[in-house]
C-alpha cells in the first residue's frame, strides 16, 4: 500500500478487495491483523467486511481488525471517548425542547401549543441544531445575519431560535452534557488530533466514506498522513474534465467528494487509482451513468462524446409499471427468479418503505419470509399499537368501541387464556350489536385488571404530571397483557419490537419529569409522537440470499443482482425540503451546505448501485392515483442514450406483463344468482303475513332467515333513528286506543305527548335525532287526535296488536300463517270490521296491491274473516265480515298524514284473491324442485334487505346487463 489516498471504481466490490489485500499483506504475520483499524461508513458495512474476511479466510481461524462506523466512534469505547463530554440522548433532548417550546409558546407566537405540536417543532429544531453542529456552524452568527427586506420576520424567527441558541445550551452546560452531534464532531476532531500528535504504528484504513463533514475531512487527512494510513474514496471521478468538475454542484454525485477533497486541501491528481474493474462492460456502464449525471452547465457536450457501444445496457433492465402494487409484484417476481439460480444473491434497494413492505408481502405468495432491513416504526409494531389502544380506551372514558378495539388486540390477555378472552369479547360484541338493543353498557370481562386509575387521571380537570400518566399507563398495559400463565411484562415486552419499546419507554420515563404537567387529554398524542420515528430493525437478515435495504444501508453492499425500485422524483431522489428556519442565502452565509446536497449523496448511491453486475430498475407510472414524474437520473440516461439512438434498447423482459397476468383468471365467470333448493323437510311451515310478502319478492331472504337462521348484526356505532321512531309511534297509539277505546278525551293530545315523550326518552335518541323526530311526532299525534275525534263512534270496538294464527292445509302438511294487526275496528252490532295498518313509510301502490306483491293487509282481513284472530281479542264470534282496509300514513312533515281506504268490494276482492294465491304459493314451495331465488323480479325487489351481500346481488345484477370483458 504505497499511495496514501486512493479511489476505487463503482463496479468493484470495495470490501471484498480490501479484505483480500489485507489478508495478503498480513499472511506472514496474521497476528498483526488485530492491531489494524478500519473505519467504514456504516455499521452494516462493518458486518459485511467481517463476512468478507471469514469468506476469504476459508475456515481459518482469524483475528479480525477493529472495524468502526465513522458516525459512531463513541460506541466503540475506543480511543478518545472520555475526553469529550457525554451527550444528552436524542429522546431526552426532544423532551427538553418540547417543554421549552410549551413553556414559552406565547412569547414565540406559537398558537395552540399542544404538547404534540411542540414535540414536532422540537424535532425540527433538533434537526437544525444537529446540522449546525455537524457543519461546525457557530450559532451565534445567526444574529449577524440581517436580511434587510425581511428584518421583522427574521427577528421573530431569531427569537424562537433562542430556544436552541441560548436556553438549551444553558441547561446542557448545567448538567455537564452536550448535543449528540457536537459529541460526534468532538470525537472525530479529538481522534484526528490524537493520531496527528502520536501517529500509531499500526495500520489505519478509512474506506468508502463519502462524508464531507469538516471533521470527517480532518480525520481522513490525518489518516492519509499516518505512516501506515490509507484512505479509500468510493468512486471518485478522476476522468471528468476540469470544466465539469469545477461546475459540480450540490445535486451532483461527486459533490460530497469534491467538498471532502477541498476540506482535505487536495485535488483529484493527489488521489491514485487503487483498483479498477477490467471488465469493459462495466467500464462502459459506469461511463454511461457518469455522463448522464454530468453537471448541467456542460450537458451541451453530450453531442460530442464518444458513442456508447450497444452492450452498454447489457444486464440492465428498466421496468415501468402501472401502479405501485404492480411494481411490488414485479420486483417480487424478479427476486423469486433469482432463487432459481443456486448461490445467486440479490438486493432490493428503495427509499420507499411502503413499497418495501408491499414487496415483502408479495414474497409470501411463495412462502418466502423477507423483512425490510430498514426496519419498522415502533408505533406500527403490535406492541406500539397496543400501547396506543390502551391510552385511547382510557382517554375515551372506556367508550365501548375503543375498549372493543383494545380487547381484540392479540396482546390482550387480561389474566385469562388469550383464546378465552377472545371468545368472551366476541360474545360481548354480539350483545352490543343485537338489533334494537336499547341500552348498552361496556362490560369488562378480565380478571386482575383495574382501569380506574388511568381513567381517573384522564378525567382530571386540572393538569396532571406526565410521569404519573406514563407510569399508570404502563401498569395498565402490563396488567392487560398478562395471560393465565404468563406475567404481563413478559408478554408485552417480548421480541425485538417489545425490547425496543421497553427501552424507549424506560428512557422516556427516566426523563418524564422534564415534560412536567400536561392536560391529560394530550397525553396519547404526545407519547405517540415521542415513540414515532424509532425503528425496530430485524437483528439478522431473514433470507440468506435476498435483502431489502434503504440506500444508506446499501452503501458498499454488493449483490449479483441489484433492484433499484421506486425510481420516481420524490422517492429516489427524495425532494429536497426547504429549510424552515433559514433561507438558501442565509444558509450559505452561515456556511451550511445547500439542501440539495442530500440529492447529491443519493446520486452517488444511485451511481454505485447502477454499476452492479446485473441491474433492474423499476418505477410506477401512478402512485396514490396521481401520475408520477420519473427520477431525474432516468430522464438523464434516456436523454444521453437518445443521442446515440439507444433509448429504445432498454431491456425490460416481460415481468410487468407477467405480474399483470399473475392474478388474472383465465376467464371471468360472473356468478349466477343463488337459487338454493333445500329439502322440503327443512322448509318453514310457519310464516307471518309480512314474510309472505318477502317470500314473493325475495325468497332467498326467507331461506337465509328460516333455514340458515342468519340474522344481521347492527353496526357497532348504530344510532337509534327512524326504526325506533316507528316503534314509538305504534306503541303510543296502541296504548292510547287500548285505554280509551273509541273515546277521545279533551286532553287527548296531552296524553299522547306525555306518552310519546316518555317513550322517546327510553329509546335514547341523541339530541339532534330527538330534535328532528320529536316535532314530527307532535304533528302526527295532533293529526291522530283530530282524525280519531272525527270518527268518534261509541259503537266501535278498537282491537290493537291482536295476534292471529291460521292453519292452512298444504301438500306437505299443515302450514301456519301468523299475523299481528296494528288495529281492528269492530262493529259488534253489524258484525263488521275494518283492518287498519299504520305506516311510517310508503303506502303500497295500487298496482302492487292488485298484483299481489303487497298481501299483508288482505291476508290479515282474510284471517279475520276466517276467525283466526282470537275471539277474546276480537270481541266477536266468527262470521264477522271485513268491510274495509285502511292504511294510515303517519307522516311527520306538515299535512303529510292521510288515510288510504279500500271499500267493501275491493276489500273482499283482494282478500279472496290473496288467500287463493297464498295456497298456490305454499304449494309451490312444498315442491322440492322450487328454489329460493334471490329477487327473481328486479322491479318488485325489496328496497332494502339484510341479505343482499349473501345474494351477491352486485355481482350478478351487473353481470346480467354489463358486457363481458373478453
Amino acid at each position: 500500500m504505497q499511495a496514501k489516498i486512493v479511489t476505487i471504481d463503482a463496479a468493484s466490490p470495495l470490501l471484498d478487495i480490501l479484505a483480500a489485500r489485507i489478508l495478503e499483506q498480513t499472511k506472514d504475520n496474521p497476528l498483526s491483523l488485530a492491531d489494524m483499524v478500519v473505519i467504514l461508513p456504516t455499521r452494516r458495512a462493518c458486518r459485511s467486511l467481517k463476512e468478507a474476511f471469514i469468506r476469504l479466510g476459508e475456515g481459518r481461524v482469524l483475528l479480525l481488525p477493529r472495524m468502526l462506523p465513522v458516525a459512531s466512534l463513541e460506541d466503540t469505547g475506543l480511543f478518545v471517548g472520555e475526553s469529550v463530554l457525554p451527550a444528552i440522548s436524542f429522546l431526552e433532548r426532544k423532551m427538553l425542547l418540547t417543554r421549552l417550546i410549551m413553556a414559552k409558546a406565547d412569547v414565540y407566537g406559537i398558537e395552540n401549543p399542544t404538547p404534540e405540536k411542540a414535540a414536532m417543532l422540537a424535532d425540527s429544531l433538533a434537526d437544525f441544531l444537529d446540522e449546525a453542529y455537524q457543519e461546525e456552524t457557530d450559532l451565534y452568527r445567526l444574529k449577524d445575519l440581517v436580511p434587510e427586506s425581511f428584518a421583522a420576520h427574521w427577528q421573530e424567527i431569531l427569537r424562537f431560535l433562542q430556544i436552541i441558541t441560548e436556553e438549551l445550551p444553558k441547561i446542557l452546560a448545567a448538567s455537564g452534557r452536550i448535543n449528540p452531534a457536537e459529541r460526534m464532531v468532538g470525537l472525530l476532531t479529538k481522534q484526528a488530533e490524537e493520531w496527528k500528535q502520536n501517529p500509531p504504528d499500526y495500520p489505519v484504513i478509512a474506506a468508502g466514506i463519502t462524508g464531507s463533514l469538516p471533521a470527517t475531512g480532518r480525520l481522513l487527512k490525518v489518516i492519509a498522513g499516518l505512516p501506515k494510513g490509507l484512505v479509500i474514496l468510493p468512486a471518485l471521478d478522476k476522468d471528468m474534465d476540469e470544466e465539469s468538475f469545477a461546475a459540480v454542484d450540490a445535486s451532483h454525485p461527486q459533490y460530497e467528494m469534491k467538498r471532502l477533497l477541498e476540506n482535505m486541501g487536495l485535488v483529484r491528481e493527489d488521489v491514485q487509482v487503487w483498483h479498477s474493474s477490467a471488465n469493459p462492460l462495466f467500464q462502459e456502464r459506469e461511463r454511461l451513468v457518469k455522463e448522464a449525471l454530468r453537471p448541467a452547465s456542460t450537458t451541451d457536450k453530450w453531442l460530442h462524446i464518444p458513442p456508447f457501444s450497444a452492450q452498454v445496457l447489457e444486464n440492465v433492465r428498466k421496468i415501468e409499471c402501472e401502479t405501485v402494487n404492480e411494481e411490488a409484484l414485479t420486483v417480487a417476481l424478479v427476486l423469486r427468479e433469482v432463487l432459481e439460480t443456486p448461490e445467486k444473491r440479490a438486493m432490493l434497494v428503495t427509499s420507499d418503505r411502503d413499497l418495501a413492505a408491499r414487496v415483502a408481502a408479495q414474497m409470501k405468495r411463495w412462502g418466502i419470509a423477507l423483512d425490510d432491513s430498514a426496519g419498522q416504526d415502533i408505533t406500527e409494531t403490535p406492541v406500539g399499537v397496543f400501547l396506543r389502544l390502551v391510552a385511547d380506551a382510557a382517554a375515551s372514558g372506556l367508550e365501548f368501541r375503543q375498549v372493543l378495539a383494545l380487547l381484540k388486540h392479540p396482546l390482550a390477555g387480561a389474566g385469562m387464556k388469550p383464546t378465552d378472552l377472545r371468545i368472551e369479547v366476541r360474545k360481548w360484541e354480539k350483545s352490543l350489536r343485537k338489533p334494537r338493543e336499547k341500552v348498552r353498557h361496556p362490560k369488562w370481562y378480565g380478571k386482575n385488571v383495574d382501569f380506574a386509575p388511568l381513567v381517573t387521571l384522564f378525567q382530571s380537570s386540572s393538569e396532571v404530571k406526565f410521569a404519573d400518566i406514563l407510569r399508570t399507563h404502563m401498569e395498565l398495559a402490563e396488567a392487560l397483557a398478562a395471560s393465565d400463565v404468563e406475567a404481563g411484562p413478559l408478554r408485552l415486552w417480548r421480541g425485538e419490537a417489545g425490547q425496543t419499546a421497553a427501552a424507549l419507554i424506560a428512557e422516556i420515563s427516566a426523563a418524564a419529569h422534564i415534560i412536567g404537567d400536561i392536560n391529560p387529554l394530550y397525553y396519547p398524542a404526545l407519547l405517540q409522537n415521542l415513540l414515532k420515528g424509532n425503528l425496530v430493525r430485524p437483528k439478522f437478515g431473514t433470507h440468506p440470499r435476498l435483502e431489502i435495504l434503504g440506500p444508506i444501508e446499501a452503501r458498499l453492499q454488493k449483490a449479483d443482482l441489484v433492484i433499484i425500485a421506486g425510481l420516481n422524483e420524490g422517492s429516489f431522489p427524495k425532494a429536497a425540503e426547504a429549510d424552515p428556519w433559514l433561507s438558501r442565502q442565509m444558509r450559505a452565509e452561515c456556511g451550511l451546505p445547500s439542501v440539495e446536497a442530500k440529492i447529491g449523496i443519493a446520486a452517488h448511491d444511485f451511481t454505485e448501485l447502477f454499476c452492479a453486475p446485473e441491474v433492474v430498475m423499476t418505477r410506477s407510472l401512478k402512485s396514490g392515483g396521481a401520475p408520477t414524474v420519473p427520477s431525474r437520473w432516468l430522464l438523464r440516461m434516456d436523454t444521453v442514450l437518445e443521442v446515440f439512438a439507444l433509448n429504445e434498447k432498454w431491456a425490460s423482459q416481460n415481468f410487468a406483463a407477467i405480474s399483470k397476468k399473475l392474478d388474472r383468471p383465465e376467464q371471468v365467470k360472473p356468478c349466477q344468482p343463488p337459487a338454493p333448493c333445500p329439502p322440503v323437510s327443512v322448509r318453514p311451515r310457519r310464516l307471518s303475513v309480512t314474510e309472505i310478502e318477502t317470500l314473493m319478492r325475495d325468497p332467498y331472504a326467507i331461506y337465509a332467515k328460516h333455514i340458515l337462521k342468519l340474522f344481521a348484526l347492527e353496526d357497532i356505532d348504530y344510532e337509534p333513528g327512524r326504526a325506533e321512531y316507528g316503534t314509538v309511534l305504534h306503541g303510543v297509539f296502541e296504548n292510547f286506543v287500548k285505554e280509551w277505546g273509541g273515546k277521545v278525551p279533551p286532553d287527548a293530545k296531552e296524553i299522547l305527548l306525555a306518552a310519546g315523550n316518555k317513550a322517546f326518552l327510553e329509546t335514547g335518541f341523541s339530541v339532534a335525532t330527538y330534535a328532528f323526530w320529536w316535532p314530527r311526532f307532535v304533528r302526527v299525534a295532533e293529526w291522530f287526535c283530530d282524525t280519531m275525534k272525527c270518527r268518534e263512534d261509541l259503537n266501535i270496538k278498537y282491537v290493537c296488536e291482536s295476534k292471529a294464527s291460521l292453519v292452512i292445509p298444504a301438500p306437505e302438511g299443515e302450514f301456519t300463517l301468523v299475523a299481528k294487526a296494528d288495529r281492528i275496528d269492530v262493529n259488534p252490532a253489524k258484525k263488521t270490521a275494518v283492518v287498519v295498518d299504520y305506516k311510517t313509510g310508503q303506502i303500497p301502490s295500487e298496482k302492487n296491491m292488485k298484483a299481489g306483491y303487497s298481501p299483508q293487509l288482505p291476508l290479515e282481513a282474510a284471517m279475520l274473516q276466517k276467525g283466526a284472530f282470537s275471539a277474546a281479542d276480537a270481541n266477536v264470534d266468527a262470521g264477522i265480515k271485513v268491510v274495509g282496509m285502511e292504511f294510515w300514513k303517519l307522516s311527520g312533515s306538515s299535512s303529510g298524514s292521510r288515510i288510504a281506504k279500500f271499500a267493501e268490494d275491493k276489500t273482499q276482492e283482494y282478500l279472496c284473491q290473496e288467500y287463493e294465491r297464498l295456497g298456490i304459493l305454499i304449494a309451490k314451495f312444498d315442491n322440492p324442485a322450487t328454489p329460493y331465488e334471490a329477487t327473481p323480479r328486479a322491479d318488485v325487489a325489496p328496497t332494502y334487505s339484510d341479505y343482499e351481500h349473501l345474494e351477491r346481488v352486485k355481482e350478478w345484477s351487473t353481470g346480467k346487463n354489463g358486457e363481458n370483458d373478453e
Binding site: D300, A575, R584, V629, V767
Partner: protein
C-alpha cells in the same frame, strides 16, 4: 392582448399566447392545446434567461401539474439530444425567428438545468404550493414545519366522529327542529353529510 378571432393558422394564436411578454387569458376547449401553450410559455421564459426557480406554475390538479412537468422535460430532453438542424427548426417553430448560436447551446443545457434546479421546478397544485409556504414559515403560520397532510381515510373517520358528536350537540336542537318540518322522514340520516358536502363548495 385580445384575440377572439380564430386565426387561419391556430399556431399563430398559440404562439402569441406563449409569448411571455404578454399577459394573456386563454380559453379553449379540451384537447386544443392549452397545456402546450402553457409549456411553450415556460420554455420561452427559460430561453429568455429566466431562472427556472423563479417561475411558478399553478394548476388545479396533480395530474395537470405532472403532465406539464413531463411535457416540459420531454421537450427539453429532445432539445438536448437532437442534431443541430432539428433543434434550430424546433426553436424557430417556438419563437418564429432563427435562433442565435448561444441560444442553441442554452437550449441544449436547459434540460439538465431544469432537472437540477434548487428546490425543484415549481409546477404545483395550489394545495402543494400552500403547503410549501406553511412549511417554510412555521412560526408565522403557527404550525410545525414537519406537519403531514391528513389522508382521505383519516379525514373521513374524523368527519364521521364529528357528525356523531354534532347530533348530540344541544346547540343544534333549535335548528334541527326548524328544518324538521320541511324535509322527508328518510332524509335525516344523510342530511349532515349533505350539509358538509355543500359547505366545501
Amino acid at each position: 392582448m385580445i384575440s377572439n378571432q380564430p386565426s387561419e393558422n391556430p399556431n399563430i394564436n398559440q404562439r402569441r399566447a406563449a409569448d411571455p411578454k404578454a399577459s394573456v387569458w386563454v380559453g379553449a376547449s379540451a384537447g386544443s392545446g392549452k397545456t402546450k401553450v402553457l409549456s411553450d410559455r415556460v420554455l420561452n421564459l427559460l430561453l429568455a434567461g429566466s431562472a427556472p426557480e423563479k417561475i411558478l406554475c399553478l394548476t388545479f390538479t396533480k395530474a395537470a401539474a405532472t403532465q406539464m412537468s413531463n411535457r416540459i422535460a420531454n421537450r427539453l430532453s429532445r432539445w438536448a439530444a437532437m442534431p443541430d438542424a432539428e433543434l434550430v427548426a424546433d426553436l424557430m417553430d417556438l419563437q418564429d425567428k432563427k435562433p442565435e448560436e448561444a441560444l442553441i447551446r442554452k437550449a441544449r443545457r436547459l434540460f439538465a438545468e431544469v432537472l437540477d434546479v434548487a428546490g425543484g421546478m415549481k409546477i404545483l397544485t395550489i394545495h402543494s404550493f400552500c403547503q410549501q409556504l406553511l412549511k417554510r414559515f412555521p412560526v408565522e403560520a403557527g404550525v410545525a414545519p414537519n406537519f403531514e397532510v391528513m389522508d382521505e381515510r383519516d379525514a373521513k373517520l374524523i368527519l364521521k366522529n364529528v357528525l356523531q358528536d354534532s347530533i348530540r350537540s344541544v346547540a343544534l336542537q333549535k335548528d334541527v327542529e326548524t328544518v324538521s318540518e320541511y324535509i322527508e322522514d328518510d332524509s335525516f340520516e344523510g342530511i349532515f353529510q349533505k350539509i358538509y358536502a355543500e359547505r366545501k363548495k
